[in-house]
Symmetry: C2
Subunit: 218 residues, 2 copies
């Protein structure tokens, strides 16, 4: 196998778009989420993100990266204004629409209208869920943490409500997002379905991990 | 479809392990990386992480979440001491060994020795790469950013060197990590291969995105 190596100086000399696509490939497979918000005037906004990460289970928290100079900017402004947002899994039937939310629509155009995805309001939660997504989380802003090295922000929130398909939930709490049709991303524009190899038991120093059997609650 | 909804109060009353597995499922598919470090005495350490995210392309940066009370703790201590770490993709031939690095080995046991993975030192880079992984990044610590809400840290670094399989690199900079055998993770213990649906062209407001054709450089 031929291995290609780049050092930092070589990376800096790469053509800009090549470098952006390449470096975006290096962090592995990515979560694909649609983040829904409202602005102060009640206008809906929807944007695809590939940087959502688990932050903690108690309290239940997630976080994601925002670049203020990108199309993400309306999302960040809205979260600052309202303090709430939704995270909805990108799933097989609507990934092309999810991708299209990354176009630079003007602030007065809702990406829901532009892409044909359906805003869903539940109870009094002050941000729109994506009706087409079967895994929906509503979060309250916790912190907007500046990453000083490059001007990005790590936005964190606590989960206030979560809705999932009951037939994808296992006895031990594992939610089978593959069964739910959730997709994985690569770099800036790759969309992938998945095939489970296995779940492995909690690792102990004195034994080899073994497969976990699947027991759905329904 | 039956949808199961939990609010924050209901999440708080779930049995602890169920909640941890469930909440860990909600952030979507996860990157799977082995992070290699050295302690001040030159002892190697290796730990699997599922929270590595892209942070920026110029300078090339990645970040990940660390919980100081977990088996991640040696990684964090070592990065504080030395200022360097490696990120290596978890790939199909060795994912069970990668999983096993999460066992709580004592500080004087190297997870390389315990799992049979091979430390690789290149040039003068002060942290071990994983020889079995074909996608290896060497990073210099940028910041250890506290997340005050739950005591975790967001650790960021700049890429100093990266090695990839030349036959997985496309003309436009896209690295085909699926072709390289990189896996995706779910929750705490799920391992998945992937099947590419497509890459979609940069989204514009006045057109529908179209598939990008693959042109490998080799």
């Amino acid at each position: 196998m031929i291995i290609q190596t780049y050092n930092a100086a070589q990376l800096a000399t790469l053509e800009q778009r090549f470098r952006t696509t390449f470096i975006n490939s290096l962090s592995g497979f990515k979560s694909l989420s649609l983040i829904g918000t409202l602005n102060a005037g009640g206008q809906t906004n929807l944007a695809i993100f590939n940087s959502v990460v688990h932050l903690g289970a108690n309290p239940a928290m997630m976080g994601f990266i925002v670049r203020p100079d990108s199309v993400d900017r309306h999302t960040l402004v809205n979260i600052r204004e309202t303090g709430f947002f939704t995270i909805n899994h990108v799933q097989a039937p609507f990934y092309a629409q999810a991708h299209q939310t990354s176009a630079r629509y003007p602030e007065d155009v809702s990406e829901f209208d532009a892409t044909g995805l359906t805003p869903e309001f539940r109870d009094t939660f002050p941000a729109p869920f994506v009706h087409e997504s079967t895994i929906q989380c509503g979060l309250q802003l916790s912190e907007i943490i500046p990453v000083s090295a490059n001007g990005t922000y790590f936005v964190t929130g606590t989960i206030q409500t979560v809705s999932v398909p009951a037939d994808c939930l296992c006895d031990d709490g594992y939610l089978d997002i593959e069964k739910a049709g959730t997709l994985a991303g690569t770099s800036l524009d790759g969309y992938h379905s998945t095939a489970r190899l296995e779940r492995l038991s909690y690792a102990k120093t004195d034994r080899i991990p073994t497969p976990i059997s699947f027991n759905y609650r329904l």
